[in-house]
Amino acid sequence: MTNTPLLELKNLTTVFPTRRGLVRAVADVSLSLAQGELLGIVGESGCGKSVTMLSILRLISTPGRIAAGQALFQGRDLLKLSDGAMRQIRGKDIAMVFQDPLSTLNPAFPVGEQIRESLRIHHIAQNHFAREKERVIELMSEVGISSPTDRFHEYPHQFSGGMQQRALIAIALACEPKILLADEPTTSLDVTIQAQIMDLMRRINEARGTAIVLVTHNLDLAAEFCQRIAVMYAGRLVEIGTTDQVIETPQHPYTRGLLTCIPRISAQRTRIEPIPGNVPDLANVPPGCAFAERCSEMQPICQNDLIPFFEIAPGHLVRCLRHSSATPD
Amino acid sequence: MTAHAPTRVARGWDYSFRIRLRLWWRALAELGYELWQRPVVLLGGIVVAAFILAAVFAAQITIHDPTRGTLLLRFEPPAWEAEGNWKYPLGTDDQGRDLLTRIIYGTRVSLAVGLLSVAISVIVGTALGAFAGYYRGWLDEILSRFADLLLAFPFLIFAIGVMAFLGPGFVNLVMALAFKGWVEFFRLVRGEVLGERTKEYVDGARVAGQSNLAIIVSEILPNVIQSVFVLGTLRLGYMIIMEASLSFLGLGIQPPTPAWGSMVASGRDYLLVAWWVSTFPGLAILLLVVAINIFGEGLRDILDPRLKIE
């Protein structure tokens, strides 16, 4: 692995003005992604993981905006690129797979056409129709869509959920991107299909060296798939580490809470304990630790100031005062 | 034994009525809050309310007689024009009658026709829709087919056709509008009832021994009444335009009763010499209808975002 990460987020902050106040959906997120790496971002829905992904591609819709930070792709700050230059990156270098395949595919166009569009936009096949179509069919069979020649002209509603997701992946892969942002790619699918899709993504990673960011609420899935995991809560990262570090020695109470919520066959514990309380209002996040109110180990000091990251092991960062003995990052 | 049952029913009614009243109060308070949050919608509501008040108290707030005038004062321009006179703020018409007074009285006709035709449409449409949706069967089949048929006619053309045969007049006008107006409410309520009738609470009521009529009236209708109310508000503006169009064509209210549509129509010959005679009643139609639409759409957003009819 090279020294410079493929993608590096520095203090990325994305805000949405609402009637109740300014919502900081992504607050001060710093992360890095290496070439070919499999990174998981885990958190409850609404914690800002999807917004983080959209922020990288600068697809935050108004009135939301990226308020601060940097997103360095191969050393270039994406946030400073012109619109045209940004379009060159989207789909070509960084592609995204969205969570609900049915609503993400355009109902008005045939699936093959939608895959071909990626090729056309980035002139992958010199805008030569026959060559483009050939490549689309290749892609479709690569992602496991059976009889691609026939299905080229079919519409999204004629596809099953799994096939739709495969088609989405095909769209994302069309230009052989360096990074694939997969936002809950399997959430709406049933379990067997889920496994197939994850399997497909792993093969892509292995075959092409595509770095994948897997965004999921399912810690288990992330644990199975990823090399590194970042846990997000209320717009902030609360714990980052290798999969082993995060799963075996979770240090943030929230991560631990997430782990107890998951029924695990391997674990001794059989009781599932939901985390008590609710996610705080993002327009009104209390100072200090955002999780404090729900935390069983909360101390008064937790609610005072913003908690910094503490590096408790090499590469294992956690935002929790219980580790204040460790050096703040 | 027999004396016992009615008492229980009565107490049940009384009880549910009180609860319902409290619920309605709370809903109303919430609605008030939501309106406060949307100043433009509120403004629309205030304009509508102002028109209603003007219609009710027309006789108290005007100093002129809407049907009396003198030719000596023919075509007095609005007050701000060179030869205007604040006695006639919007000027006078071809008979020397105060235009503002006539517009205020005209509100009565517009609102009366609008409200009555919507009210009849609501009552007929809701009742038929509820029964058709609840009982299904041949009744539903016939009513639905008939409703589809009426939809095959453009509204204004149907109303013109009916008015042509009935002849002009207030009652006929309301009838003609309601004759087609009920269809929308029928379809709305029928659809809602079809959805509601399979829900648990209806089954519960049936198990509890309530009659079908009681179930429809006391269990199902309260759940669809909001949508009906919203649709009714939106239709009110439409009916007012229909009234104006029919009056414009001479099929509505007859002179000297001031009706906006006929005021616009009779003033159009004078557009080159006295632009105000037909412009201000036109603007009154515009203002009221726009206000009703803003208010109605605001209500829709607050009460029933599902209901998106254009």
Binding site: S103, I171 | L149, I157, I160
Partner: protein, 336 residues
């Protein structure tokens, strides 16, 4: 598959047309008093024999269901009765007037689309911009503006003050045009008559704007709101994530989907246009169906009113048929 579906849809209009005819038949029953008295109105001194004759001619001396049978049978054979005021069969009158009305309705529809599409799209893309606010305010006005008033103001401005557009009529009297379909614009194209094309288009412009303004407003509002909805959708995000240009995102991905609900509304608006004809045709001296109907109403020319209402309803039903068929091409999901 699609062809069969379309055929089925076409067939469903047949019972509707029958229903329309039946309702129109019952119109005359609404009149207080004896229809024959009213029909004979203009010759008050009609003899009893004449009354009987007329009664027989209209089958009013037979039971109601027999009358209905006659009416439907006649209607099916294209016989809608006889206009006493105009001394002509109703069908002839309708046929000679219909092209003018159709031409204006199509003109108004096109104008309203030309106005509404860019405004709807732009105000959705630039939501809350000044342009958006102004055009939506304009839309509200357009919906409630009395057609005749707009018409006269347009005449005064374009015909009298600027003198660049004609004030009335369908074509100048000194322009020769051979009638083929009765739609003058089409006829001048068919006969390759360029002066007539220019002249008839100029004549068509102001009435179409007058008639189309309200409809344009409604279409613009619907298009804007469905564009707003579509622009928030995931597939638009995907298109952006692919790196598509804003133009492609809006004009291809978003518009195509936003048009689906819009098309339905456009179909319904044809009904509004048909109704609005009556006023606009009077203002612009347009020799169409609308003026004929207004005349017929005041003259109590009942057979003519019946026939005209029927023609309007049928035009409306057919338009919606076309819209539905168009819909299947816009929306691949649709099953008719």
């Amino acid at each position: 598959m699609k062809a069969i579906k379309i055929l089925e849809r076409v067939l469903t209009t047949i019972p509707i047309m029958f229903g329309v005819a039946i309702i129109v038949f019952f119109f005359i029953r609404l009149t207080p008093g004896d229809p024959v008295d009213i029909m004979l109105g203009r010759s008050a001194a009609a003899s009893q024999r004449e009354i009987e004759q007329l009664r027989h001619q209209f089958h009013l001396d037979e039971p109601l269901h027999v009358q209905l049978g006659y009416f439907l049978g006649d209607a099916l054979r294209g016989n809608l009765g006889y206009s006493y005021i105009r001394n002509k069969p109703v069908v002839d009158l309708l046929v000679e007037r219909l092209p003018a009305t159709i031409e204006m309705t199509i003109g108004a529809l096109l104008i309203s689309l030309i106005i509404a599409l860019p405004i709807g799209i732009l105000s959705a893309v630039r939501q809350n911009s000044l342009l958006d606010r102004l055009s939506m305010a304009g839309a509200f006005l357009g919906i409630s503006m009395p057609g005749f008033w707009l018409g006269i103001v347009l005449i005064l401005f374009f015909a009298v003050y600027l003198q660049i557009l004609p004030a009335q009529g369908r074509i100048s009297y000194d322009v020769e045009l051979q009638e083929v379909t009765g739609l003058y614009v089409l006829d001048s194209l068919l006969t390759g008559n360029l002066p007539a094309l220019k002249d008839s288009l100029l004549h068509l412009l102001l009435p179409s704007i007058t008639l189309g303004a309200g409809v344009a407003a409604i279409i613009a509002r619907v298009l804007r709101s469905s564009m707003l909805e579509v622009l928030r959708s995931d597939y638009v995000k995907l298109a952006r994530a692919k790196g598509a240009t804003e133009w492609d995102v809006v004009m291809k991905h978003a518009l195509r989907n936003a048009l689906i609900p819009t098309v339905t509304v456009v179909g319904l608006q044809v009904g509004v246009l048909l109704g609005g004809n009556m006023i606009v045709e009077t203002v612009f001296s347009w020799p169409g169906l609308g003026r004929l109907v207004v005349d017929a109403i005041f003259n109590r020319d009942f057979p003519l009113i019946q026939g005209a209402v029927m023609i309007y309803a049928i035009t409306f039903v057919l338009t919606n048929l076309v819209v539905d068929i168009l819909y299947t091409y816009l929306n691949p999901k649709i099953t008719l």
